[in-house]
């Protein structure tokens, strides 16, 4: 794949939910086409915040955000970003709100202005790719934990995004669902940032890992620690 053009660039980002308690201080990050970046860090270190900043759900206190080659500031700037960058929420319960799987998967494409016919074709294709054929009429709320995770991933893929931001995609899953998501991620062509506190998982699906600590992003600090695992990065891009 090789490092392509830069899709996302954070420069000196500062952000705090409360005035005196900054979560991010001078955070910087880049994601190039074809790249798969892992992001780790303790609870409350701002990993989710970073992803939400990338699609404009939060606005930074300081610093600049460049996405798809342009600096983005206003809500309007981010409209295009959200149509081309898929964000997977940590908890599928926060993301799935339609009665059936079909409706949930169609939500994104319809927002993008696609026609109903086109949308239904995309939904069918996406379900097939994820091995969820025949799920169209299932009631989202009644799916199992692993199925919900897959469907929420599918609901983003139907938008045919250029890049993916995945927030803890395998947390709490049983080994089987976990493996299913892992191998799926490896087949996807999109550039992605994957937030997870599971080092083994990150090493097996990303090219390199960054760590968020004290409000800053530092490269590969974690990788040096886990010696047993450092042999794995060669598997990338498989």
């Amino acid at each position: 794949m090789g490092a392509g053009r830069v899709l996302l660039r954070f420069k000196n980002i500062g952000y705090g939910y409360e005035k005196d308690r900054p979560v991010l201080v001078e955070a910087g990050l880049e994601l190039a086409a074809g790249e798969r970046v892992g992001l780790t860090g303790p609870i409350g270190s701002g990993k989710t915040t970073l992803l939400h900043l990338a699609v404009g759900l939060l606005k930074p206190d300081r610093g600049t955000i460049e996405v798809f080659g342009r600096e983005r500031r206003t809500e309007r700037d981010f409209w295009e970003v959200r149509e081309r960058m898929g964000l997977l929420f940590q908890d599928p319960e926060d993301q799935l709100f339609c009665p059936t799987v079909l409706e949930d998967l169609a939500f994104g494409p319809l927002n993008q202005g696609r026609s109903r016919e086109e949308t239904e074709i995309i939904v069918g294709e996406t379900l097939e790719i994820l091995g969820l054929q025949g799920f169209e009429k299932r009631i989202t709320h009644h799916l199992s934990g692993g199925e919900k995770r897959l469907v929420s991933l599918a609901s983003i893929l139907t938008m045919k995004p250029d890049a993916l931001l995945l927030d803890e995609p395998v947390i709490g899953l049983d080994p089987e669902s976990r493996e299913r998501i892992r191998s799926l991620l490896l087949t996807l062509p999109q550039a992605m940032i994957i937030v997870s506190h599971d080092r083994e998982f990150l090493l097996s699906v990303t090219n390199h890992t960054l760590a968020l600590r004290g409000g800053r992003v530092s490269p590969a600090a974690e990788r040096a620690g886990g010696d047993r695992l450092s042999a794995l990065p060669a598997r990338e891009g498989k």
């Binding site: 339609c98 009665p99 059936t100 009631i139 989202t140 709320h141 009644h142």
Partner: protein, 211 residues
């Protein structure tokens, strides 16, 4: 759709309070202690919706009244629920007021109960298909129309010359009826597919509440 603080003369306010008191009493009777959390959590969501849910409407936005939906889910308990909701609105945002609390409770709560009797059974039978949507639309429209009539009636009792206000409000409310109906229809269609049990209104007599 409420009557503002200070507008209602004492006899009208008193009559409103009296009718509301009867409704609230019946509502509380049908609700056992163990069903309070259920009713309260519903009322929290319904209050919240009136507060933050903004449906685009022309250049501005409107919030749905939701009393049709509330009636379908809560039955008679909708009246105490709207009393709580309206009191909170008066307390926190000065929508309505304490002297008009009774009238406003009746305006919102009575249509809810009527919708419960008219449409709850139909939705429980036919909710899963197109019936859910249609039943919801009917409930939303009916509740809004009755609310408007009650509101207009109360306002006219407060002073005949207030008819102008009723006349002016009529136009926008024709649009509102449409939105309220659609919104309630979609919500009922969701609920009867995903969680049909929500329309099984607990009543004091048959309730065992073994949740």
């Amino acid at each position: 759709m409420h009557i503002a603080e200070g507008v209602a003369p004492v006899p009208v306010a008193a009559a409103g309070a009296l009718v509301a008191a009867v409704g609230v009493t019946i509502g509380l009777r049908t609700m056992q202690d163990r069903q309070i959390p259920r009713a309260a959590l519903m009322s929290a969501v319904i209050f919240l919706a009136s507060l933050v849910l903004r449906l685009p409407f022309g250049p501005s936005s409107v919030h749905p009244l939701l009393n049709g939906l509330a009636g379908l889910i809560l039955g008679w308990a909708a009246i105490p629920v709207f009393l709580v909701t309206l009191f909170l609105q008066a307390l926190l945002f000065q929508y309505g007021g304490i002297t008009t609390l009774g009238i406003n409770t009746v305006t919102m709560g009575l249509p809810a109960v009527i919708c419960y009797y008219l449409f709850n059974g139909y939705i429980r039978k036919k909710g899963t298909g197109r019936g859910g949507f249609l039943g919801g639309v009917a409930a939303g429209v009916t509740a809004l129309v009755i609310s408007f009539v009650l509101w207009a009636g109360a306002l006219l009792l407060c002073g005949k010359h207030l008819a102008v206000i009723v006349g002016l409000a009529l136009g926008p409310h024709l649009g509102l009826v449409l939105i309220e109906g659609l919104f309630t229809g979609f919500a009922v269609s969701f609920l009867s597919r995903v969680y049909p049990a929500i329309f099984e209104v607990p009543s004091g007599r048959e309730g065992n509440g073994s949740a």
